[in-house]
């Protein structure tokens, strides 16, 4: 069973975010790009399933929409254990344009399921997975925290408001995964890094797609007022109740 992992790349979480061109564009000069943390967990679990003899997953392919600068990130994904990576050669502009590129590539490709991290740490859209499912007319299962197998049939566990549910999907599904799908990202070992160099990394051209929304300007969030340091629990309760009026 082949599994696709859709990956995005985001600024390293500790990077300072700055803008240029009168605050209309991200200043990417000093940014260190990393695999979007949720996608890294998704890939980690997909690779674990590939090495788990009890699971039918035997092939993991990464798909990414992005320019040439994301190739080191794809190599890292291959070092973690994916078999193949495909880069669709265009900068992502919005979730719809990105999802359409992915859908065009994935349409009709045989697979068990497609995994997307819940959101990407840049534009925080949480939208690509759902859009991809609709474009492919596949079922989407969101808030997925694990995958088990009943024979060869995947059973997906999802978090719902008042508990957990296990669902089966007849046909391929798009999984939107969150924390719990894997706990900690897999760190590539030396052997992984060596073999990644010879694994296929295909680059395919993008299609023309108009985005639905446009990011026109950025600003820093409003500065927080200074913290008020208190000395006793009584003072804290009084402040919360009389000053902040939250109790």
């Amino acid at each position: 069973m082949r599994v696709f992992v859709c990956m995005s790349y985001v600024p390293d979480t500790t990077t300072k975010i700055r803008f240029k061109e009168a605050n209309t564009q991200l200043d990417d000069a000093s940014i260190q790009w990393v695999i979007n943390p949720w996608d890294e967990l998704a890939l980690t679990r997909a690779v674990e399933l590939k090495y788990d003899a009890a699971s039918p997953v035997d092939e993991v392919e990464i798909v990414m929409v992005g320019g040439v600068r994301c190739e080191p990130i794809l190599r890292k994904g291959l070092a973690i254990g994916a078999d193949k990576a495909t880069r669709i050669d265009v900068e992502p502009l919005d979730a719809f344009q990105t999802a359409t590129q992915l859908a065009t590539y994935l349409q009709g490709k045989d697979c068990g399921f497609i995994v997307c991290g819940i959101e990407s740490g840049d534009y925080n859209e949480a939208a690509v997975g759902g859009m991809l499912a609709e474009l492919l007319d596949y079922a989407s299962v969101s808030s997925v925290s694990s995958v088990q197998f009943d024979g060869d049939a995947p059973v997906y566990q999802r978090d719902v408001a008042n508990g957990k549910e296990q669902v089966k999907v007849d046909g391929p599904a798009v999984l939107i995964v969150q924390k719990g799908f894997a706990r900690v990202p897999k760190i590539p070992n030396m052997r992984g890094i060596m073999t990644a160099r010879s694994k296929p990394l295909d680059v395919i051209p993008a299609i023309e797609v108009e985005p639905l929304v446009e990011f026109v300007e950025y600003a820093a969030p409003p500065a927080k007022g200074r913290v008020k340091m208190l000395n006793t629990p009584e003072e804290l309760v009084r402040s919360l109740s009389d000053e902040a009026k939250l109790l």
Binding site: V216, Y218, L246
Partner: protein, 325 residues
Amino acid sequence: MSILVYIRNVGGQLKKQSLELSAYAKAMADALNLDVTGLVIGTMADGELKKLGNYGMSRVLKVDDEQYNQRVNRVYTRIVEQAVNKTDAKYILFPDNAQGKAIAPRLSVRLRAGFIPQVLDLPSSFEPFTVKKRAFTGKAIATVTAHTERVILTPMLNSFGLPENAQDLEIQSFEPHIEEPDSRLELVGKQLSEEGVQLADADIVVSGGRGMRSSENFAMLEELAATLGAATACSRPVADDGWRPADEHVGQTGKIIAPNIYFAIGISGAIQHVAGVSGAKCIVGINSDPEAPIFEVADYGLVGDAFQIVPELNEVFRKHMHEKK
């Protein structure tokens, strides 16, 4: 024309967020001379739905059919689409949570409507539609425009407030036409979580970090949470080490929450943690290290040993709550 609000149905109950969405929609509707219609899928009593009338909603379409109590994203998307067509909705609002984000993107594709999640404020313009949203995990605010005929939004919790605005709420039944009942998704098991305050909806959250030192020590945070009617949460290493369940992990790679009060106890305040709570109205830091970064983002701080402060705090709160009654 109208503004359509998707009302989250949690076992027949409304969530505060739906009231907020209704109030947000009403503010937009007043600027545009439209009215606010809600859509609820699955069983919910009229008495419960009536509450929405206090916050600016004038009509609810209810799809009261048991076969839809089970959420299937693909089917729900089609039901909302039909309600959009029926009400000629130009703006469609969903809650900014897992359920909203499961359906809204699918609808965006079907309607070719611009989708703007994590909205922080009312639109600053309608021609073209322009609004501010959270970006880069809270490190920036982006201004976004959509030129599409319809626009889908998910306003964040606490982004607007809850002004009352009483309307005569009309409740109508709505029967969608779903051609192929979705046989492609089958429920094979379900476990209900224990009763308790759900983290995503909680007004007050008591959260512990590695400074709590062990899973047993979280008992004192649970006690404090019980006194306050609060939910419990934790930092990532605490969940990674299994001291607390994974679904309590808050932050950039965990849940993003916006309670009224967030207690960060024995939490250093790493940027990735703060990304999950920056929408809180008030952050209280309790930490033995006066230099801990949590104090850079907190509104109130107490320096000291959590093991001493938390039980004391619990006592003072208990008295306070008692006096208030």
